[in-house]
């Protein structure tokens, strides 16, 4: 990589030349210039915010005045562990995030396979636009649209009644949240899977069938292992985006549909208990950390 850096060209002796020569000799200077600004941003804004968050999780709030009490205590974490409500909420968040991820993977795989390997170039372009189209409109608009679809008198119930499955209570339930999340994050799964399927050489699939493998065997033993990193990369998006969301549960969730994000939001915006919110916010950080370790084992980062 070092040899591919720009070589001096043009008349000798100019300032530009001396600068580029100096840069050429000092690899570390190049790195500092390139990474200085984004690095400072990363450390100051991103890491610092996380650190402050984590530190404040060990403080408490004076219930009478609402002021922060800066004495170290584990009481916030103790409440989280001892109180079954918060365990239930964390579990609900993780289970729905996992369900959404699996659903999106199952939906994205055949779609991406068709788009990448079967469709004509024209259809492929149309499909690409179709995947990205929902991202052009506001997240809120799309969630509200789902509210109309799932209403008691909405399209979903009308369609179910047509096939004799009667009106169902879908609106404002965990099922509604699962449907909406799966819809909202689907593009983030389709795109990496699409890329991964596109990368598989035709020759490998042909060789597999030449050697007598049936379609299913080729899929399971050739295609799937090569596309799995792409699925894992997509799952990082769908899982983490669901894990941190609080808007969809607010809008389409019902009684007993709170996510970790809702508890955090309520503690900051309603009860003014930032330390407890910070303590609960560390849960998704830990879950995501574990998830990323697993994803790395499965090769998700090779596909990026």
């Amino acid at each position: 990589m070092a040899t591919s850096a720009a070589t001096p060209s043009g008349p000798p002796g100019g300032l530009a030349l001396r600068v580029s020569a100096a840069l050429f000799r000092r690899a570390w200077l190049r790195a500092v210039l390139l990474l200085g600004a984004p690095g400072a941003w990363f450390v100051l804004i991103y890491l610092l915010a996380l650190v402050i968050l984590f530190v404040s999780a060990f403080w408490t709030v004076d219930s009478f005045t609402g002021n922060l009490v800066h004495s170290w205590t584990l009481s916030n974490f103790k409440t989280l562990v001892d109180d079954p409500v918060y365990r239930a909420i964390a579990l609900r968040t993780i289970v729905i995030a996992a369900a959404v991820t699996v659903t999106d993977a199952l939906l994205a795989f055949p779609f991406a396979f068709f788009a990448a390997r079967i469709a004509s170039p024209r259809t492929r372009a149309a499909l690409f636009v179709a995947v990205l189209m929902p991202l052009w409109s506001s997240y809120l608009v799309r969630v509200y649209a789902w509210r109309l679809i799932l209403d008691r008198d909405g399209i979903a119930n009308w369609a179910l009644a047509q096939v004799g499955l009667g009106p169902q209570h879908i609106a404002y339930t965990n099922v509604a949240m699962w449907l909406v999340f799966s819809y909202i994050w689907l593009p983030f799964m389709v795109l990496p899977v699409w890329t991964a399927i596109e990368r598989v050489p035709d020759s490998l699939l042909e060789a597999s069938s030449d050697l007598g493998a049936r379609g299913w065997q080729t899929f399971r033993r050739v295609l799937l292992p090569m596309v799995l990193p792409g699925v894992m990369a997509g799952s990082i998006f769908t899982f983490s985006l669901t894990l941190g969301d609080f808007i969809t549960p607010t809008l389409v969730g019902g009684a007993g549909s709170d996510f970790i994000g809702n508890v955090v939001y309520n503690n900051v915006g309603v009860s003014s208990n930032v330390p407890f919110a910070a303590a609960f916010a560390t849960v998704p950080v830990i879950v995501m950390g574990i998830y990323l370790v697993i994803a790395r084992r499965l090769g998700a980062f090779d596909a990026l």
Partner: protein
């Protein structure tokens, strides 16, 4: 490709070590600085003696429906104060908005009785000179210097309106017409009931229990012992599977009723009026067990940037005409006793309908929102405070 990837990984590991070092240093410095500083609430605002020239802007935190164009537009034209409103869904949210720097960002807050004392004690609101509000002397006696906004004779705001939390139902789906709160605790309308997402809702359950289970000995729904709170909480936990959604904003509940997802629920008269205006088949009532209710106060933020506009607003909304307009629009009762003729002018019989001419006993029949504290009226301090209520509410909603 493999080889390149693994080299990249090795490099990134050493970079990570460097970053970790930086992070450790920053962490240490944050801890040191953060532990040093602690702010104390202070109140520098002097009570105004004269309303000066308007500042051109007025920022308020209000209940949904309290800043309708009908009376905001004329105010803006008269005074040149542009009104910016932020709706809050609960008293807790109002208190939090004011505490998190809102006392300098906002000028006024329409606090209910369960928020006003918290704001006064927290130093978020400033004393108000009632002599600058000519209509104040026409207020009903109970709302001139009520305990929820007047401390030791110092006024911290101007009373506005009051009213009950009602039972709202769909007249086509709920038959026979309900007359008891029991309808929102019974499985008959499972999955079609909605109640506010607000810890103060525990008081509604306590009020219901005070009439249906006298053995618990509940005399005041805001003063509950551990045992009484436990009974209210277990009633609300039984109610949870019946709830389609806990509503946070009034517009949420309006949507739920409009789209047929809810047919009965706890409500404010504002939702009823909005739904009836949209030709939805709904009705509301105060059930036989009585009702909780609110008495709201416009309170002046302690660091208000536009105090003149704020005083102009408090003066304006206290006048009989605006009191009448808001009372009918929201479905509540005005504090100003002179609002009656104006109400009848807007809508025939409105004065009687919204209880503006009702005797004092009607006012006393409503259990107005107040903040639960450990001190009970019986002199003992074994009551549950608002922190307990908030925790229990999280537990109920699960």
């Amino acid at each position: 490709m493999r080889a390149r990837a693994s080299r990249g990984r090795r490099e990134s590991t050493s970079q990570w070590r460097g970053l970790a070092g930086v992070a450790a240093v920053t962490l240490a410095s944050i801890v040191i600085t953060a532990c040093g500083g602690s702010s104390a609430a202070s109140n520098h605002t002097k009570v105004m003696t004269k309303i000066g020239k308007g500042e051109g802007v007025l920022n308020v935190i209000a209940w949904e429906g309290y800043t309708q164009p009908q009376w905001v537009k004329p105010f803006e034209q008269q005074t040149g104060c542009q009104v910016n409103a932020k709706y809050a869904g609960s008293s807790d949210e109002m208190v939090t908005l004011m505490r998190q720097g809102g006392d300098s960002q906002y000028d006024l807050v329409s606090a209910s009785g369960d928020a006003s004392l918290r704001l006064i004690r927290g130093g978020d609101v400033a004393p108000v000179n009632v002599n600058l509000i000519p209509d104040w002397k026409n207020f009903i006696p109970q709302l001139k210097s009520p305990a929820h906004n007047t401390v030791n004779g110092v006024h911290y705001g101007i009373s506005l309106q009051w009213g009950p939390n009602t039972l709202l139902y769909n007249t086509q789906k709920v038959k026979p017409a309900p007359n008891s709160w029991s309808v929102i605790y019974s499985p008959k309308y499972k999955g079609e009931i909605t109640v506010p997402d607000n810890p103060i809702q525990i008081a509604d359950a306590a009020l219901y229990l005070s009439k249906t289970k006298p053995s618990l000995g509940i005399t005041d729904p805001y003063e509950l012992t551990q045992k009484q709170l436990g009974a209210a909480v277990s009633l609300l936990k039984q109610q949870r599977p019946l709830i389609v959604k806990y509503w946070a904003l009034a517009s949420d509940e309006i949507d739920l009723f409009k789209n047929g997802n809810a047919v009965v629920g706890a409500s404010w008269p504002y939702q009823t009026n909005t739904l009836i205006a949209a030709h939805a088949p709904v009705k509301d009532l105060i059930p036989v067990q009585g009702a909780t209710g609110w008495a709201d106060t416009w309170m002046l933020a302690s660091h208000a940037k536009h105090p003149n506009c704020a005083y102009m607003w408090m003066k304006y909304v206290s006048t009989p005409k605006v009191q009448a307009e808001q009372a009918i629009s929201f479905g509540e009762t005005p504090a100003n006793t002179l609002a009656c003729p104006d109400m009848n002018k807007i809508q025939k019989g409105a004065c009687a309908q919204y209880h503006a001419n009702a005797p004092a006993s009607y006012f006393d029949s409503i259990r107005f929102w107040k903040t639960p504290t450990t001190r009970c009226d019986n002199g003992q301090s074994d009551c549950t405070d608002y922190n307990d209520w908030q925790q229990k509410w999280t537990e109920i909603k699960g």
